[in-house]
């Protein structure tokens, strides 16, 4: 089942797919769901990202349901959905925790999931399930090393430079109030709270984007 699942998702637009073993990490209501399928798509500054993730989730659900397994979808924009019953369960797991446990990356100094190939440029969705999927090796510690570009370039000085590891999963990486007040300022100026310098500057995965751009340049030129 693993192979077909992976193949299907990667063939339909997923950038990365991993399976995490999350037993013991979840609250009682969902403790029977021992695995998490973590799906990442290349964010690419594209507005269809959420739609694509939802479609990929539906594919996973279709496969699981057909085989009679239980599941719970945590949608990509889970923090914005509050009006459904099932949304009460969303805070019980985070996309980033599922992704690091599924070996897709670590949490960088900028507080985002960093994947070796795509850097922080992934959007995530998670499907919890009791299907006996083969699990991937979790990532234990940050591979940011001495790099502190995001810290240096952050316009609000919000990045503390702390390092994430599985044993120390919640250090204060970002001073959220600083980040938020900066975004508020930008919103007042431009109407949109977009900043994202800590994403643009991250050297992980930047190459892929550059190659993309060069290729499209070659094609159009």
């Amino acid at each position: 089942m693993n192979r077909t699942l992976r193949k299907e998702l990667l063939g339909s637009g997923a950038a990365v797919v991993g399976v995490a073993w999350v037993r013991g990490a979840l609250a009682q209501e969902i403790a029977h769901l021992e695995r998490a399928v973590s799906i990442g798509v290349d964010r690419n500054l594209n507005e269809d990202t959420v739609r694509l993730l939802l479609a990929l989730q539906k594919k996973v659900v279709g496969m699981l349901k057909k085989e009679g397994y239980r599941y719970l979808c945590i949608p990509p924009d889970s923090d914005r959905i509050r009006n459904t019953f099932v949304s009460k369960l969303y805070p019980l797991i985070t996309h980033k925790m599922a992704a690091t446990s599924a070996g897709l990356g670590w949490i960088g100094k900028n507080g985002l999931l960093i994947n070796p190939d795509f850097g922080p440029r992934l959007s995530l969705a998670t499907v919890l399930t009791d299907a006996p999927l083969q699990v991937d090796t979790p990532i234990e510690r940050s591979l940011c090393g001495d790099c502190a570009l995001c810290m240096k370039f952050c316009p609000s000085d919000a990045i503390t430079g702390e390092e994430w590891s599985r044993h120390e999963p919640f250090p204060e990486l970002i001073q959220m109030d600083k980040c938020a007040s900066h975004k508020k300022k930008i919103k007042a100026l431009h109407g949109k709270p977009n900043c994202g310098l800590c994403i643009t500057i991250c050297p992980y995965g930047r190459k892929i984007h550059r190659e993309d751009q060069e290729q499209s340049f070659v094609r159009t030129g």
């Binding site: 209501e29 969902i30 029977h32 769901l33 239980r70 599941y71 719970l72 459904t84 019953f85 099932v86 009460k88 369960l89």
Partner: protein, 230 residues
Amino acid sequence: MATEEKKKELLEKLRNAVIQYDEDTAKEASQEVLDVGMDANEAIFNGLVSGMEEVGRLFEAQEYFVPELLMCADALYAGLDILKPHVVQLDLGVKGSVVIGTVEGDVHDIGKNIVKMMFDVAGFNVYDLGRDVPLDKFVEEQVRTDSDLVCLSAMMTTTMTGMKKVIDNLRAKNPNVKIMIGGAPVSADIAEKWGADGYAKDANNALKDAINMISSLKKLKEEAEAKKRG
């Protein structure tokens, strides 16, 4: 008008959509119900609610767990949103209004929301105070809305004691109001000891009890009025 066969098919489709927690099908079937001119009331009770009853059974039998239960409730609401504006008249013999909430200090509101859903479906006016509700607020809201029924929920033994205070305060203000309590640590014994009129093990029971309570309340009122006249 839809044929009996078509009706049966649609009711089955609605019921299964809820049981299978399939929101898309619940919406589709509800739209079909309207398109063929079927009675929305019938579709809600013999389709959606009938499905939810089966879900309750599956949950009790531990075939469904909390996530399934919630997804089923979402499927029910997806259909209900479409059908409800077309309900001509919901008549269960009684109609009432109810104040509902989870008591102060407690943020667990899944059970409360499901009970609320049953009241919604049954056509009650529901005043939902949400979760972590200050104890005085229940009394204020009951007085403001002149509701027949107040439902209190608590999931923790530590917050449960707040319910007793609310019951005492409500009784002081309005001896006739019916009070119902629910939640994991609550039992029939506690309900009796604290002077609540009802205790709900689950959402289905809550609704049934509520209807009984309100009809007995209405009867009391009528008798009192008859006495006055006589």
